[in-house]
Symmetry: C2
Subunit: 243 residues, 2 copies
DNA sequence: CGCTCATTTGAGGAACTTCAAGGTCAGTGG
DNA sequence: CCACTGACCTTGAAGTTCCTCAAATGAGCG
């Protein structure tokens, strides 16, 4: 089964695999936590003993504050999850988006982020300690955990790099990476709101809008009216902007 | 032994501990990789079999390109290491600083960063595969790895958050966190150059200089002339700026 | 249609960068 | 001891990017 690990947000290189077996789902589909176990039926049972759910959340529901995730990790099955922080002056920053196949909640407490549903979403809740102790008995589980954390680390580092670029570059990078993650389809249907994207990219919604309009005027992308749907037209040109 | 895990860069909450035993060194001292093993002599031997070094690098030496770190992880014993990227227009971004007790190189390949010595430094090179397989036999090693990666992830996420603040706030945050990490001594001796700090904070060196001068004029910090030495005078005021 | 919410557009202002020059300090050689 | 040098940091003035505030437009829905 050529399933792809949804390694998640949008400033990162496309697909990540664990071992030789690609696991989890693509971004626009459904991920399956049991696949962490591969064909090992006994391990599958142990894994499912750790999980609760799937639990459904609607757009903009708060799923957890990460003070609360000390006991549980989350696993995204469908939809998009965001982790964000609102600081005293009212500004919101989105630290990360999580797509199907991603684990949420590696980082507990330290920074107090809010885990929220960016779209309607379904999640599994997984007992953290159980998973950790399973990992110390099973190489496959340990590797999945290490891969998941280092992948998220890589994405966070790319995010830091992105914040040093111009607004237009940030927008072009975001859209291109999203398009790649969603399987390079003809149309790019953006699942999250402009406000979410703006808060992720560290610009205002007005600046984001202007950046996208700018990309459109340059012929790099086109918009299908009346939907959050785009077409990336000039990949070479986009690559030039991104760099 | 009340040793503190040097969890590294400067936008993060102060001290992180693993298990009940605090390991590694403080930032201004020397870290010891063998302490990962605790009192287990057999494990200590296995760990030291994986390591090469310590290897010494001088300031601004390139230690590795992270395409090269597929086989090896690094462990900082003394000094400060930076990971950075220079993009086509010549701008340099520093993604992270690593202090004694930190592991460098969890993220291989994906984003092509350069690992460099921000000060004179001593490193251990550790066989990645050996450590990973050791972790699947030993809970303690597995936990150290998970803690190290999630700590670095937390720092990277704080870094993202920091990039959405004003230049003055970024500078105040950086200096305060650095002061905490260095043990809250009377003086804060900044180990890295202003250029490095500026590239880490995503501002120009001029803006950084103006921000620091501004903090000084407000009486929040004071400078000891002729050295990279500061005194944080008004912690309450700094906290107000940081937020 | 009329409402609401999301996005777009415009004009002015603030924050930061760029460019250019000056200052400080440690090391070096006279 | 002093001048010279180079690395590093600071300061000033002008320019650019992005933000803020305000208003208009568009999309979805009863």
């Amino acid at each position: 089964m050529g399933m792809i690990m949804a390694n998640l947000d949008f400033c990162t290189t496309p697909f990540v695999e664990f071992d030789d077996t690609k696991i989890f789902g693509t971004a626009d589909t459904v991920a399956n936590f049991a696949k962490v176990a591969g064909d090992d039926a006994s391990l599958q049972r142990k894994l499912s003993a750790l999980q609760r759910g799937p639990v459904r959340f609607y757009q903009n529901n708060v799923i957890a504050l990460n003070e609360d995730v000390a006991d549980h990790l989350m696993f995204v099955i469908t939809g998009v999850v965001r982790s964000c922080k609102i600081c005293r002056n009212g500004n919101r920053s989105i630290v990360s988006f999580y797509l199907p196949g991603d684990f949420v909640g590696w980082v507990d407490a330290k920074l107090s982020l809010s885990i929220e549903a960016a779209t309607d979403t379904e999640l599994l809740f997984i007992k953290r300690k159980g998973l950790v102790s399973l990992a110390s008995q099973n190489v496959r589980v340990a590797n999945v955990m290490l891969t998941a954390t280092t992948n998220e680390l890589a994405r966070a580092q790319e995010h830091v790099l992105l914040m040093n670029k111009s607004a237009k570059c940030r927008a072009a990078t975001f859209l291109t990476d999203l398009w790649v993650r969603l399987g390079k389809a003809q149309y790019l249907d953006v699942p999250m709101s402009h406000q979410d994207i703006a808060d992720y990219l560290g610009v205002t919604i007005e600046t984001l809008s202007r950046s996208i309009t700018d990309l459109e005027r340059s012929g790099l992308i086109a918009r299908v009216p009346s939907q959050r749907r785009l077409i990336l037209q000039n990949h070479f040109g986009l690559r030039r902007v991104i760099n």
